[in-house]
């Protein structure tokens, strides 16, 4: 099977994630879209690893997973805190940090 197809899927997933981040208001959904983008990147990494025949890409994928796990812990904590204080998980409502 052509390895390039994985890259196409990766690009598609990344695009879906990016569009989701930009268009969705729900913080949880935005979060999941970010996960989608990270995993699209992971898919690219392992694909390149396979194409090049070495393990660099796979190692990078593990790094990405660690970062993603940390990000989820911190991000979800923030979202839960915001939801507790303002009864809303919409990212547009949390827009006080400006001007």
């Amino acid at each position: 099977m052509n390895a390039a197809n994985y890259l196409y899927i990766s690009a598609l997933l990344f695009t879906i994630g990016a569009v989701g981040v930009v268009v969705r208001r729900n913080a949880i959904v935005v979060f999941m879209c970010i996960e989608l983008m990270l995993n699209a990147a992971n898919l690219s990494f392992v694909t390149f690893s396979r194409i090049n025949g070495d393990l660099d890409g796979q190692v990078m994928a593990f790094f990405t997973m660690v970062v993603a796990a940390c990000e989820v812990v911190v991000g979800l904590a923030i979202i839960v805190t915001i939801y507790r204080s303002r009864r809303s998980a919409s990212v547009d409502d949390a827009s006080l940090l400006k001007r």
């Binding site: 990016a18 935005v30 990212v91 547009d92 949390a94 827009s95 006080l96 940090l97 400006k98 001007r99």
Partner: protein, 630 residues
């Protein structure tokens, strides 16, 4: 050179007087004038003592010095604060302290109604100290300190009654015009240091032979600028007339007898520079000749008795500068005229003060008249000064002024003829305006206001006038009999022994001078004694009189050539500073602020728009890389 510690007291005594009177404040009001006079008199005593010591020593050992302290010691540049008393300085020391003491005595009475009399005496003492430092300094830098000190004292005393804005302006004008001269002196000192590496008189005299003529000419011209500023010589003469705003004793002491002659001292002291720089020397003569005519012409039109005398001072100092510019043959005569002038002009100024004292401080001569009967002593003393300035034998001016005229004629060639004729015409005009002053003030019909009650001044005032009158009568004879002053000063100047052929015999010069004086007196007599004098100045006068009344347009000239362009330049510079410098600074701020507020719109707080911007940015970056790589 022998040292003499008592030189210090010459300066320290009046300086201490000034310090005590200024620091003690109102507590010293009761006895301040007595202390001031005592300090000046004791300084005169020290001067006389020094003169006796000097007379006892053989000629070559006469100069004495005293190193006070090491003033500046920077690398190659070493200056000691030191004093030097030689045959030239002693003349000045005795003139300054002698005339100064007489004027202190006069001021006790003249200023007795002024509540600030103590302050006045403090300033007078300050002036005496500064002037003594000027003539006793052994280097140009020490002289400079005294030079600035007398400028300060002059400023303070001209503006003594500074509650009148015009008087305050006059003092400022004198100060500012003097700054130009001071600048000349500082340049001269810089040139001396740059070319000869020393600023002491002895050092410069030693090195002057090796220095280039260009450097010496530059130094000479700068010294001339300094002299012109301090001595009210063309083209820096405009301040002297206004300086008459000061109390009359100040005019007599500072603006007639001593400070304004500092320029003559400077040129005479720097004889080794001028003798080696003929161009600068010629300029000195030209400045002297112009000023003596300039002052004389102004004097003819002034109705203010003090301003007429001030114009006369300017003119007489012109004579001295001219003589000093004639080289070794002229220095002694310049100093002699300076000394005799110190007597008769100070005497006449004190006389004018005495007249003003009795006439409610009226200065307009057209409101005087017939004062001879009311002020006999003033009339006699003023009259003796008048005869002296005219140069009538055997009064003082005859000896000193005739010498200058004679020396001018003997300068040789066309230069000699021009200078001789100028000094002769100057003598005639001097005779005219001084006769005018005499006639308008003391003779004719009385023209004074009803509330004036002319009376003779108290003895404290007429005594100094009498002493100065004696000086006006005798000083010329005493100084010139057996060439006393010439021989006294002889060791200081580099004489060429060979004498050029005399153009005229001395007796011929005297006859010509007396004829010119007689013509001047006669014109004044017919114009003012034979006709009724109006108590207001006539308006329908010739254009020349109008110009002379306005000081030959000196103020207008200065305003048109220096003041207004200067103001325009300042305004332009201020505007340029505002627009260019400040504009650049403000512009940077405004650009930063503008771009900041424009970019602030992007910070809208919406996470999704930030994400979109990041996304677009990333895509644009990748696109750019892609384009470049392709």
């Amino acid at each position: 050179m022998t040292t003499s510690t008592s030189l210090v007291y010459l300066i320290a005594l009046p300086l201490a007087g000034a310090a005590i009177l200024l620091l003690a404040g109102r507590r010293a009001d009761k006895w301040g004038h007595l202390l001031g006079t005592a300090m000046s008199a004791s300084s005169f005593g020290v001067g006389l003592y020094q003169l006796m010591l000097m007379l006892d020593r053989p000629t070559e050992q006469r100069p004495v010095g005293k190193k006070l302290f090491e003033w500046i010691n920077v690398g190659e540049f070493k200056v000691d604060a030191g004093l030097l008393l030689d045959q030239l300085s002693i003349c000045f020391v005795l003139l300054i302290t002698g005339v100064g003491t007489l004027i202190h005595i006069y001021s006790i009475s003249y200023m007795s109604h002024d509540k600030d009399r103590r302050r006045f005496f403090a300033y007078l003492n300050l002036f005496i100290a500064a002037m003594l430092l000027l003539v006793l300094g052994d280097s140009y830098l020490n002289l400079y300190v005294g030079w600035e000190g007398v400028g300060l004292a002059s400023y303070l005393l001209i503006g003594f009654w500074n509650q009148k804005p015009a008087y305050a302006t006059a003092s400022k004008k004198a100060f500012v015009m003097n700054r130009i001269g001071d600048m000349g002196l500082s340049f001269a000192i810089m040139i001396a240091f740059a070319t000869m590496g020393t600023v002491s008189f002895a050092g410069v005299q030693e090195h002057a032979h090796h220095a280039s003529e260009a450097a010496l000419t530059g130094m000479g011209i700068m010294l001339l600028v300094a002299a012109a500023g301090k001595s009210a010589q063309f083209p820096l003469q405009a301040w002297l007339g206004d300086a008459m705003a000061g109390p009359t004793p100040v005019s007599a002491l500072i603006h007639a007898a001593t400070m304004v002659t500092a320029g003559v001292y400077l040129i005479t002291r720097s004889n080794f520079v001028f003798d080696a720089a003929p161009t600068a020397q010629l300029l000195v003569v030209i400045v002297g000749a112009i000023t003596l005519m300039f002052g004389a012409l102004i004097g003819t039109a002034k109705d203010d008795i003090k301003k007429a005398l001030a114009a006369s001072t300017m003119s007489q100092i012109g004579y001295m500068i001219l003589a000093a510019g004639l080289g070794p043959v002229g220095y002694a005569f310049a100093i002699m005229h300076l000394l005799t002038h110190g007597f008769f002009k100070a005497g006449m100024f004190l006389g004018a003060g005495s007249v003003m004292h009795g006439m409610n401080d009226e200065v307009n001569m057209r409101k005087y008249g017939a004062l001879r009967k009311f002020m006999p002593i003033t009339f006699v003393t003023f009259g003796l000064g008048y005869l002296a300035i005219l140069g009538v034998p055997p009064f003082a001016g005859f000896y000193s002024k005739d010498m200058i005229i004679e020396t001018a004629f003997n300068a040789g060639g066309a230069k000699g003829i021009i200078l001789g004729v100028t000094t002769l015409i100057g003598a005639a005009i001097t005779a005219f305006y001084m006769t005018r002053v005499m006639i308008l003030t003391f003779t004719g019909t009385k023209r004074w206001d009803d509330d004036a009650h002319p009376h003779e001044s108290p003895w404290l005032m007429w005594l100094p006038m009498a002493v100065l009158a004696i000086g006006s009568v005798s000083s010329g004879y005493l100084l010139s009999s057996g060439d006393a002053l010439e021989n006294w000063l002889h060791p200081l100047f580099d004489h060429h022994e060979e004498h050029e052929a005399h153009l005229f015999e001395p007796i011929v010069v005297s006859a010509m001078a007396l004829t010119m004086v007689a013509i001047g007196v006669a014109i004044a007599f017919f114009k003012y004694a034979r006709q009724e004098v109006s108590s207001v100045a006539p308006e329908n006068v010739s254009i020349f009189t109008k110009i002379a009344r306005q000081d030959l347009m000196q103020d207008r000239f200065n305003e048109a050539v220096f003041m207004r362009p200067g103001q325009a330049l300042t305004t332009t510079l201020v505007a340029a500073d505002d627009v260019v410098i400040d504009g650049a600074v403000r512009g940077v701020g405004q650009v930063a602020m503008g771009s900041g507020s424009a970019l602030r719109g992007l910070q809208n707080g919406y996470v999704r728009s930030y994400a979109a911007v990041i996304l677009v940015g990333a895509i644009a970056l990748i696109g750019a890389i892609w384009v470049v790589v392709q």
